[in-house]
């Protein structure tokens, strides 16, 4: 692959932008929080995030020097070698990865639109978590199924090695978090218990397709390789 294709400075700036936005949101959330005496606790997040942001900004100089070396085709340089060895999603994976974001976004829109029709029947909190976690679930599951995730691609070191374990853990937590509140309803007959646990239940429900898609893709790959 042409090393020039990897624009390290651009990637670094993207990370700076993302970290900056997260930092800003965290600072505003901390300052506007009305949880008594917890503002200092909520400020720990922004402090960590600001440190990361400063480190990323300092890293820009390093990124520029590596990019210059790559542009000059200094492929024997240790830093350049390290960058080139780092696995990146290939063109097919990038295509499906972007598509998975698209599906996740439209799922979110669909849920919020459906919710706006049934606004009186579904509580706001449930609707928002269904839209957000559901969108994330669609995004991750589709990417996993298409092999466009570090967890199902052997090139990505420890993430791929532990893909099966992570898949099983997600599936188990997902199943437990979904089934337990439902069973408790049948045992106690108290629907409020399920209602109260609904947001946590949605999160766990989303873990089921995430974990199972990971396991399905890994087992399919194992069969293909054999």
């Amino acid at each position: 692959m042409d090393p020039k294709k990897q624009n390290i400075i651009k990637n670094q700036w993207i990370m700076v932008g993302i970290a900056g936005i997260i930092d800003l949101v965290m600072i505003i959330a901390a300052l506007y929080s009305d949880i008594a005496g917890a503002t200092w606790l909520l400020l720990i997040g922004p402090v960590i995030m600001t440190t990361i942001l400063i480190l990323l900004l300092f890293g820009l100089r390093k990124a520029k020097s590596i990019q210059d070396k790559m542009d000059q085709q200094m492929l024997d340089d240790a830093e350049v070698k390290k960058v080139l060895k780092t696995p990146v999603l290939d063109e097919r994976q990038q295509h499906y990865y972007l598509k998975s974001y698209q599906f996740g976004f439209w799922f979110m829109i669909l849920v919020l639109w459906s919710g706006s029709i049934m606004v009186d029947t579904i509580p706001k909190g449930v609707l928002i978590s269904l839209a957000m976690w559901g969108g994330l679930g669609v995004n991750v599951s589709y990417a996993n199924l298409k092999g466009a995730s570090p967890f199902v691609d052997g090139r990505f070191g420890w993430m791929a090695k532990n893909g099966k374990l992570i898949g099983w853990i997600s599936l188990t937590i997902g199943l437990m978090g979904t089934i337990v509140p439902i069973l408790s309803f049948f045992w106690t007959g108290d629907w409020h218990q399920v209602e109260n646990a609904s947001i946590a239940m949605i999160t766990c429900l989303v873990l089921i397709p995430m974990g199972s898609s990971m396991l399905y893709r890994l087992s399919k790959d194992q069969k293909d390789e054999a």
């Binding site: 290939d90 063109e91 097919r92 994976q93 092999g147 052997g154 293909d224």
Partner: protein, 65 residues
Amino acid sequence: MKNLRLKAARAGKDLSQQALADLVGVSRQTIAAVEKGDYNPTINLCIAICKVLDKTLDDLFWEEN
């Protein structure tokens, strides 16, 4: 449409899908998808595959009527 010529060229070089993927710098699934005809590679990927297999674009990717 399946790309049997790519599969044959790969087998001719005694390379597994994984080995070819490593040489080209893509995932094994991508090579499998190109062979199965599930994914149309870009010209850059086609060239990279051809270089590794010592073939021309015509040899591997040109569709004859």
